[in-house]
Amino acid sequence: MIELIALLAIAAAIYMGWNLGSNDAGCIGAAVGGGVIILRRALILVGIFALLGAVIGGGQVIQTFRGDVIPEGSITPLVATIACLSAGVFVTVSTYLKLPVSTTHAIIGAMIGLGFALGVSINWGTIGKMGIVWVATPTFALLLGFVIYKYFKKAMRRVKKPATANLILKVSVIASGCYLAYALGANNIGNVTGLIAGADIAVPLVAAVIGGTAILIGVVTLGSRVIETVGKGMTEIDPSMAFAAQLSAALVMNLFAIVGMPTAVSHAVVGAVMGVGFVKGSSAVNTKLARNIILTWILTPIVVALITFGAFKVVGLF
């Protein structure tokens, strides 16, 4: 019976990973939209680099999920299954409704819900730090986007040969897209398999491999839709802008992965694109987008916490 529950927990984590892969594959969308790389190659690159990020750089974030939010001993395979399914279903439904939600915010909400349902102490200090990180993500990305784009353009002006400039831009856009995929894997792997590591179903490295593979499957099976959408939406973004935005978002994601703080890739990208836009003299901030982001920041953890709490209580009846 215990083994079956453990398998269910792994399946739920894979579902979460698949969700993440299919939703966040857009990190190389600018390169596809700009025609720098064909879709099939982009999908393979994103999948591989996200897997690498999960395995190589995901350790700290997995550790945060293991015992820094709710006590490690309270996470059982059943608890992990309920949390992953609650967060996963919420993300799937939101994606279907075209609502921009973050898997990070969803899984943290699920853990808060679990904490209440189990009656264990929730580490509000860690939650508070995460809140700061969620605000810092677009802010840092914006600042980095501004600086990187400004100096990259300056450096590119010194390149007199168009053929060389063309090659530099191509390589930069693809490389920064791959780095963003790596940073996504490293930062968000905890969302996927942090709980199965916490439930001692798998050691962190194995959990990272399982989660990374699930992300890769998500990218390859359903990522094309997101990549194409992001690509089409970014047609106004030239290769220099795409490079600066991707690199800035990747640096922020990677930095927070190193300190074990999970955050949302979409927010990093939005912040970075805004920063790049400021260099171009675009002072108009998309207020609708900003409002949506703030709303989802607040609502996603609350709604998923309630779903998880409810689901746990219903399961408890049996």
């Binding site: 390149v159 040969k161 168009p162 053929a163 060389t164 090659l167 030239d238």
Partner: protein, 229 residues
């Protein structure tokens, strides 16, 4: 120092420059064409018009080769479309030269009429010399464009400066073209109506060669602005 891996792109720029040189060779034939007209030698005009057609075909072949290389995945699409447009516009220069050749060669009576009128009115000779001046300025414009396209391979700023010079030369062509058209209308008593209209068309089409060169130069300026401004 060539940047590692940019060989494909460099090759494309070389092909683009070869095309521009081929177009320039076509434009240079305008000089021979108008010299033949000044000798009232229709047979020679026909021969040169055929040579222009053959050279224009060579330029076309260069353009096709460049364009097929352009789509082998070496360029960013944004850049690719600019280069494609540049090749197309440069090619129009050669097309227009071909039209000028045909416009002169098509009517044998033009040489006869001009020769006859030149005996009665000295201004006809001045007009024919003016056509030579126009051709020389048009050739200079196309040569400057060719230099700009060639410079694009190594230095985009230099290419942009040369493109700007192309535009200034085209303005000079405009002035000569306008003056020549006025002169043609002034000579309507010495020439028959068809010859007047034919000469007006020849001047207009010759001027257009420089117009297309200027347009191609504008694309070079735009490339510089988009990618390095």
């Amino acid at each position: 120092m060539p940047f590692f891996g940019a060989k494909k792109e460099q090759e494309a720029f070389k092909a683009l420059a070869r095309h521009a040189v081929s177009v320039c060779e076509t434009a240079r034939m305008l000089s021979e064409l108008f010299q033949a007209l000044s000798k009232y030698d229709h047979a020679l005009i026909e021969k040169i018009a055929k040579k222009i057609g053959a050279q224009e075909y060579e330029a076309d072949k260069c353009r096709r080769k460049f364009e097929s290389g352009l789509y082998e995945g070496a360029f960013l699409p944004l850049f690719r479309s600019d280069l494609f447009n540049l090749a197309e516009r440069t090619d129009t220069v050669a097309d227009e030269v071909k039209h000028v050749g045909r416009a002169i060669a098509r009517r044998e009576k033009l040489c006869v009429e001009l020769k006859k009128a030149a005996k009665k009115d000295k201004k006809i000779r001045t007009l024919i010399d003016g056509l030579g001046t126009l051709a020389a300025k048009v050739i200079e414009t196309v040569e400057r464009l060719t230099d700009a396209v060639k410079a694009l391979e190594t230095n985009v700023e230099k290419a942009s400066v040369l493109a700007e010079q192309t535009s200034k030369l085209e303005e000079d062509v405009d002035v000569i073209e306008d003056q020549l058209t006025r002169n043609i209308y002034d000579l309507e008593r010495s020439l028959d109506v068809v010859t007047v209209l034919q000469l007006r068309d020849i001047v207009m089409w010759t001027g257009r060669v420089a117009n297309w060169a200027e347009d191609a130069g504008d694309i070079i300026a735009m490339i510089a602005m988009k990618h390095w401004a």
